[in-house]
Symmetry: C2
Subunit: 354 residues, 2 copies
């Protein structure tokens, strides 16, 4: 019996469209003949909003929820367009999906592939995963503005951290560390954000007692940025809150060869909702439609997707093909499709023919 | 008539004691015979707290307020000591001083001196200043924990941003840019922290209209970390909130040769309260008392102090001596006092003898 993998794609805006096309082609090449991939493309994004006034409705969520997983490109239009101000697309689409589908594990592996150039002079071996909490913290949208536009304006942002929310992501991080280098680093700012800090510290320390073979340590977020540029090899699994995770994963992407290579998964581990896989980079309106974008991050996100839906061999074929492709990248510039096709070809060559 | 410079020193804990001693000696050598430096040393810090139960009382604040400026070392004891948990010293001493003395400009210059090694392979010219807001944002301590220790625990952290607080630091940043490279970069996360983001964006854009010759741009905090490692030369003045500033300044310190070189000022520009100057690094209990600490960051902080109290020539003598010393640093390790003495000697040679 053929296994069906039913995917939603949300290419989004700008280079999102170009990179998702390549990622999908690679994914299809990777699964082999025993898996039938069906895809439904959804038009959501800044352009769609400007054209229709719609961002993402509850009916859209219900439709998307039918799929097994979501492959997401990037969303966002011209940053100076006043109609897109205030993060309306980011909040109304990307964050809405993460919250509605309870993507509490925002999984961001960082690996410096051999032959990829890092901006660091001596990076050492970079191979760690940032487990970023995805459904609470300062991302909840809580807060407000009073006396707006006056000299007495006050704006607040409230970070919400629950034992329920922190515990589950911390547990996931320790379980991941069990399968990797057996080390967890909690990153927070417990000496200043003492309320949330105490919750995170307590729950990490409690979970650690269930994993005697995993060592764990703690770093303030400011110190963590130092180590990411001076000694990234020290990290195995980093667990942190939504905002710190946002910051650290971009930095991690940068030191491991740029966010053109950084993949991510917005994961609901229990499978109550479809998980969503997306490159860390944005829609890059300035180079959109020019076949200049590197589809590698989207392709590696497709590998995370395959792993998540229980096709680890197909996932491994993709990461191996990417690794081989990276090793042979010279200074010649290739188009988005050329990179995608080269990787797809390698994947196809390794995939079972029957 | 001799100008008197009446300083308070708070050496604090660990290496704070060692580096403040050197910074003070250099400062005294720099001012020349026309300035009489008087100093009063205060014992505050983790050790003092453990010995006496006192951190910093209102009477201490009143006494400190009498001085013209404060030279601060570093505070903090053994991070695993439960008596110091929850940032009790950081909040009760360092942050209390910043808040009580209205240090709304947390000034953190970043300069990669020629001959200093950066962890970046190709840093380019690094010379920018981070103007970090020092009295509000997520540092206000607002928030709390309910149902602590239960599965229903909820912890909150509230970031408070006022037009009053944001406007004055933004104004300071633009005025600084006027005297430097005429560029301001606002760093925030306006697409997610939309409430505070709107206040910051509006006030930066309003202040910009008073400075037609200063260009300004905006970066999300995550993107800013990428540029700090891929293109730090693009920055001139960065203005940002208390927490983002904390994170970015450690990263900035790291790329410019390490926080052993990173100086800072907690400044009340109006002089309503004494400003306080401190190295960005911590008390480093692991190497304390061993003469292993680099006093350069504390010495450069003393230069910021001299500049602030209206002795810019003495300040320049210090930075020039540091620059010359850095240029001649080989691989030989020197003790804290050796570095301090070498810089003090250079400074003395350049200072007026009468
Ligand atoms: C686009 C934005 C809302 C998003 C985030 O802050 O999470 C992005 O930066 C990311 O890291 O996925
Ligand atoms: C010690 C700590 C409270 C402090 C801060 O977070 O401001 C430090 O990291 C700094 O940057 O001066």
């Amino acid at each position: 019996m053929t296994r069906v993998l039913d995917l939603a794609t949300i290419p989004g805006d700008g280079i999102g469209v170009e990179v998702v096309a390549e990622a999908l082609a690679v994914l299809k090449a990777a699964v082999g003949p025993d898996v039938e991939v069906t895809t439904t493309e959804y038009p959501f994004g800044a352009e769609h909003f400007l054209a229709t006034g719609e961002i993402l409705g509850d009916d859209d969520l219900a439709t998307l929820a039918q799929h097994e997983a979501i492959l997401f490109g990037a969303v966002g239009g011209d940053p100076r367009d006043p109609r897109l101000a205030g993060g309306i697309i980011e909040r109304g689409l990307l964050l809405k999906l993460r919250f509605a589908f309870d993507h509490y594990v925002n999984l961001r592996p960082t690996k410096l592939y051999p032959s990829v150039t890092s901006p660091l002079a001596d990076p050492g071996e970079v191979d760690f995963v940032i487990v970023r909490e995805g459904t609470e913290g300062p991302y909840v949208g809580n807060g407000g503005v009073i006396r707006q536009g006056t000299p007495h304006e006050i704006a607040t942002e409230v970070s919400i951290n629950t034992a329920y929310g922190v515990e589950r992501v911390v547990k996931h991080a320790f379980e991941l560390a069990e399968k990797r280098g057996k080390k967890v680093t909690l990153v927070h700012k417990t000496n200043v954000l003492t309320h949330a800090g105490s919750t995170w510290s307590r729950l990490v320390s409690a979970e650690a007692s269930n994993h005697p073979d995993v060592v764990w340590d703690y770093l303030h977020v400011d110190a963590a940025t130092i180590f990411l540029v001076t000694d990234p090899a020290r990290f195995d699994v980093i667990v942190t809150d939504n905002l710190f995770g946002d910051i650290l994963t971009d930095l991690a992407g940068a030191i491991s060869g740029g966010i053109g290579l950084a993949a991510s998964g917005n994961v609901n581990p229990e499978g109550a909702f479809p998980s969503m896989f997306e490159p860390v980079h944005g829609s890059a309106p300035d180079i959109a439609g020019q076949q200049k974008a590197d589809p590698t991050a989207a392709i590696l996100s497709a590998a995370l997707l395959l792993d998540h839906v229980g096709l680890p061999e197909a996932a491994a074929r993709v990461t191996e093909a990417v690794s081989a492709d990276l090793a042979e990248r010279g200074s010649a510039t290739r188009t988005t499709s050329e990179v995608g096709a080269a990787i797809a070809q390698r994947v196809a060559a390794a995939a079972p023919t029957h």
